[in-house]
Symmetry: D2
Subunit: 476 residues, 4 copies
């Protein structure tokens, strides 16, 4: 039995979720052990952001379970269901002020990928992975849990394969196999929202050779599992910006997630040394997750597009031709993402009865996003003006000497206080540490630029194009 | 007499400079009046940064004065002297860890421009501006003063000319003319280092029509002048980043500079209502100042280039082909700036015996800088990896539980602590609020992208190209 | 009655089509009247290219006619039917070696647009346009005709509106209204395949003001109509390239199409002075036609993609990292077009029961195509090597002295003769006048770059983005 | 004695040059042996283009010879002399309607490089190369000869080094060493103007390992040498364009140059198996020659800039904001080239007393040129309009029916005939096979894009940047 908690008769509430975080999980923030994340003055916001998921209408009938569960956990079987998934990711992001809510998205991306691959492993190795994955999926669906996903290993020396590393812990790996389960060690980087999730799902970061078999491991553990430590990144977009508007309301964090001789019972093990399937799991997950990425990024783009539009209006320059060119760049950023998601949903690969977002169109959107976000920042900064960098603090407006000066002098096409608030948000989005965080995210999250390029070229079928050309070279 | 202080027999020391700041100037920071900037816990760093100027070897013989003064104040008369100016700006920036030091650069840019234009005004209007500008130059040179330059007006409604603004104060303007001087009101945005400069030099922001004559005004006042108020921007790159390395050592700030019925004695007035020369002053200054810009930006680029190189090495990916492409981008950023400065210096315009940096090549470098800095950030972020966004805080390394994990797991081609420090600097430069500030600076400082484009096309001589083509169309 | 020919019981054959061209139409080529286009040594190829349409399986049931007709003429009523239209355009292009076949595509784009707009005009002006358009559509469908579309006027002075032109003929306009029809004069540029089409359909090039009412005219005439003159562009990609491979097989031409007091019977008039609908017709057509554009351009991209792949292989450089970057650029060119078409088809606007390709996604694809084709050429040229420019002629290979040298020295990863043929095609596609023609096409055909930008921004709905941001600025 | 012709007391005339071509050299064009190139109906133009060199004022005092010779052959010893060289290349190009004249440029680039490297070889191997190079230089200078330069080998399988090629002839190599000289075989690609040059200078294409020693060979031979065969590329920009304006006046051609057991006397051998210097010769030449490249490309850019300006004027769109953006792109293309040349000249490397153009700035300009020429074409095509592709032929204007229509309808801001001529030149430059040839040239001539990137990164000194950053990481 992998479920330890009672089945819920109804879907979970935000309060239930927040209460459940206080379970002894070992999390650190800025060098301090965090006792209760939901009450921590800073991390609380990330927890409440996660909890917003429970306010978003997500109910969808699960055909296997015969009951309504969160739509995230329903395995997509058709273009329409992939489209629904795209819309759910988009709607959740919009409900969180344009900030992605990963809490059920990333874990269900991994489950969807493993649901396709587990039967293949089972057929080859007579393993019971498909049943385990499905049992796990049913449990997290019926309990309406949140799942973090730990994939990217620390990697150590980038020039060496996992088994060549001087320190084997640089990739999470199996250190012991026991009758009742396995033991794993290592660490994963960039595990988003891990310390505010119910479960941590672990999958390989790349294809593995036979010598790398110990590194071919996938499993899930509760966040409070012994040996698991979360080191949360500093939240500079909030703590470092006393003028923050958005980060005061929504943000997510990443952890370095340490696995120090963590025991995993067999029911929770989904891959163990079947090295030839590690790549399929890694890539399968990446495809689903990049589909999620282009979906939420289209929503996030609204933050930049809407702010740029308000800035242009408050500056009184909406009609300038160079401003229109910048608005166009922002429109394209949103709509190319959306176009990518829509096409990927409508033209899926079908495998094991499941609909996989079209990898080609998914990765094209992902790559566009990687390569054009710096242009989004540039457009916003350019049309906002230098005042983005030199905007006075809120407290200046409250000083009786400075305040009236500032209200007077910051007016343009709208009055000073209104314009200042619009600019303050533009500053947060465009030139603060939030902007930097977004840039890192848009370039690295859900796989690097090079990974997207490789994914596009790897399976690209040149037959149609080459046949056309050969036909010209050797006419019938 | 415009000089109120005794002539110095030797050049000024940093201590003398810092001591002089405590003169009652009216500066505000985050809603608080700042009594002593040189002792303020945050602004102190900007003051000390300014003071570093006095440690840089700058002595140059002034032919008019017959004595050694700061090279910044020597009017360039030849390519060699412009080249020396480029090198002085570059060297000063390098001495300040790659952060521009504007303290004598920008003011002397304005003096150089006015030295060329004042004789032309005098010839037309029988005004005494040339002598006043020269007397002022001699004074600031012999006293080795620092000068802020206030040019960009608040502008109000961008669709209206100065005299059409509902509130005339949106552009600094003459409100009264008295026997002993003039009175001015208005406000200027983005006045760099104003509150830590000895003097504030004011020039028009654009060409002025006859109806805008009151707005055609240039002058200089000491920072402690009555009616002058400085509102300093919040220093988020320092206060918002408790991990800051660079901002802890060097930064500059901007102020909104309020002029509320400020009296200026005639000796300090350099333009007053001769509206047809306002554009020449604005553009003349812009040319000298953009020459300064491409000079310091070449130096600043070293921060990004050097950090990227160290990051690639510590990550162990220096030889990857995509990394080499990114390094190339960074090399080009530095060297196109430098190339622009070198060409502008070697092929100046000569006017009134003075060497003006070639406006075409100056603006080409400036535009390249505007349009390619987001690519610099992108390159650094891309080759650093997602760890830029998710790097733990310094305090995490000090915790006995987390510390050993982090030291172990953050190792790559170099050990964990070293790599972390390199990444921390990359984070500051690439994704922190410092990065955002730099992006705003690289796009807006020293004139907008559109201004650079206009400057290139405005005076471009198409004769050679058109003659060649007409020769083909109508062969002899 | 608008149909003068008997209804066909079966679809038309290529022979029937080619025979029908010999009807006295007035066409000129290089200063000579062309008597029989289907027998002209050069233009014959364009005629036979057009005729290839009749070899492509196109049958589709028309619900209104209750019979199978060319799928081009079936009005799309659903995403599935738009998708079928995309596939038909793509398949026809592939059947013509990657060269677009406009013969039924462009005319049916215009009919589809007018079918949506005519009812609206009729409701306002009590005109009979909807019935006329439908009757005309049924006729061309049942007779399986080819239609050229003349939209772009000569325009004269670009700074003046139609009625302001010194010479009113610069835009096609109504010069007389008679009981039995109207008389029109003027000229249209770039009418593709006009002289090898059965019919010429004319629509306005832009929105028209009340003063421009005479210029708001749409109609159709047979190619052999009195007063109609076609001036065909020189076919340099064929006549100027004795090594041509592709142009020897397929090309299309444009004409300047002169209307000199051409009479049009009322049955063939679809808009006459209802100026407020001119813009809707122009834009409605543009949307359908740009959907056709992204569909055929995806197919055309195969020429470049396939050739680049064969070149890389024959040069032995397929695995070089810079080559992979260029292949990626070519893959993106094809697939972004396709993605745009697929999304536009799946998410249409519905109007008057008809499915209009989503204008936003259509124009995004169109703009991508405009802005990235020069990069396609660059990629092909770059990976081919300088030999593209310096490849010897075919006759050199036949000379007994040169031939053996060339066969020996042009070998690389494949033998000399094979490699030379691959390079010859790369040369035609990349650096010949065909390449130039393609560049002009990819930038200007189906509307200019600026037109695509305008189309994206014109109707873009910013509400969702602005609402999100206003919600942050004024939290509930 | 290497000189076989009498010394000239005065500089050579164009007639003398043209007469000298009739010396029995073995050239082929389109499969035919060409007896007299100066009288060949097509190649004649390339010969006359070469001869224009003799009308350009080029006299410069050679300090070694103590007499005036062509400035091309004077070895530059200072920035001023490099600047003079830049201006000579630029002026010669302008005198040839913007088309490069390679006749003394490329050969003297090679001599300049070998003059620097020969003394180093001599010091190591006690060879007499320096004296031979100097003797050869004096001879070609005093006789005022033209020199082609053959560097790029055919290369065969790109994945193998020279000695690994199945056919050793894929790189020119030494096949025999005799008392009186050496024998060489192989072939070189892209030898510009070889068949209309007096001499063919041969240098290695790359660095050579010890096993490749036979391929490390440099020498010069007269064009009429036994065993030497020139296969001229087809001149499609002229023969394929009966409307050509520019190609009717000026063009250059390339040959595949076959060396079949060619004997070279020792006096003409400059490198023979000293493999470790092959790379230095290749790179040394590349640097001088890319300096020539950025110099002539700045001049060539005038063709595009001037034509674009005339087109914008004749179309009446000079003031449109998108047109100004395109003009800016063209201005930058010209001026970044010039800036690169000026900086490279002013800041040379000094070696063996000789001034070498700064390799960094030379290669930056070269790379800019490679990467931005497709944008030049795009800008010209975009602002010209679709009429570039669809412009009628000249003969259409002469037909009594068509002519008046065309004159009337092609008018815009200027009359029809004038506008048509401007557009015809724009068509030649923008979308004809000339445009394609230029694109291949701008990407591949004087070294590939990858070669420029490598040249920039290879010797780039990161010390300054890394030191700055290390100073921040480990503060004193």
């Amino acid at each position: 039995m992998i479920w330890e908690r009672p089945l819920l008769s109804a879907m979970r509430s935000r309060e239930q979720f927040l209460a459940s975080l206080n379970d002894g999980r070992e999390a650190y923030y800025r060098g301090q052990r965090v006792d209760s994340i939901a009450e921590h003055p800073v991390l609380r916001i990330a927890a409440e952001h996660a909890a917003k998921l429970y306010d978003v209408p997500r109910e969808l009938r699960d055909p296997a379970l015969g009951q309504d569960v969160s739509g995230y956990f329903v395995l997509p079987r058709s273009p329409a269901e992939l489209l629904a998934r795209h819309r759910l990711v988009y709607a959740t992001t919009m409900a969180c002020h344009g900030v992605f809510n990963i809490s059920q998205a990333i874990g269900s991306d991994a489950l969807a990928a493993m649901s396709v691959i587990a039967p293949k492993i089972d057929r080859k190795h007579a393993t019971p992975y498909a049943a385990r994955v499905e049992a796990y999926r049913r449990r997290v669906a019926t309990e309406d849990l949140t799942l973090a996903l730990a994939q990217t290993d620390m990697k150590g020396d980038r020039r060496r394969r996992p088994h060549e590393q001087p320190d084997p812990d640089m990739y999470v790996h199996v250190t012991d196999v026991r009758p009742e389960g396995i033991v794993v060690s290592g660490a994963k980087a960039h595990t988003t929202q891990a310390a505010v999730s119910d479960e941590i799902v672990v999958i390989p970061t790349r294809a593995m050779s036979e010598k790398d078999a110990d590194f071919a491991v996938a499993f899930a553990v509760p966040a409070a599992t012994k040996g698991l430590t979360f080191i949360v990144r500093p939240i500079e977009e909030l703590e470092g910006n006393d003028q923050a508007i958005l980060a005061r309301s929504d943000y997510e964090f990443e952890t370095i997630t340490i696995f120090d001789q963590v025991f995993v019972p067999w029911e929770r093990v989904f891959l163990c040394r079947e090295h030839e399937f590690a790549g399929a799991v890694a890539i399968g997950f990446a495809t689903y997750h990049r589909f999620t990425a282009v979906s939420y990024r289209a929503a996030t783009a609204n933050l930049y597009l809407g702010t740029a539009s308000l800035v242009a209006r408050t500056n009184g320059i909406s009609e300038a031709s160079h401003v229109r060119d910048k608005m166009l760049r922002l429109v394209l950023y949103k709509e190319v993402m959306r176009m990518s998601a829509l096409t990927a949903a409508q033209f899926p690969l079908m495998d094991e009865g499941q609909a996989i977002p079209n990898p080609l169109y998914t990765n094209i959107g992902k790559l566009y996003s990687n390569q054009n976000f710096s242009g989004v920042l540039e457009a916003l900064v350019d049309l906002s003006g230098g005042i983005l960098a030199t905007l006075p603090a809120r407290s200046d407006f409250e000083n009786p000497v400075e305040g009236p000066y500032l209200a007077k002098y910051l007016a343009a096409a709208e009055d000073g206080p209104r314009r200042t608030e619009v600019l303050r948000l533009a500053k947060e989005l465009g030139v603060s540490s939030f902007a930097g965080y977004m840039m890192a995210l848009m370039i690295h999250a859900e796989g690097s630029v090079e990974a997207s390029k490789m994914a596009i070229l790897r399976d690209y079928d040149l037959t149609e194009a080459e046949t056309l050309v050969e036909g010209l070279l050797t006419p019938k």
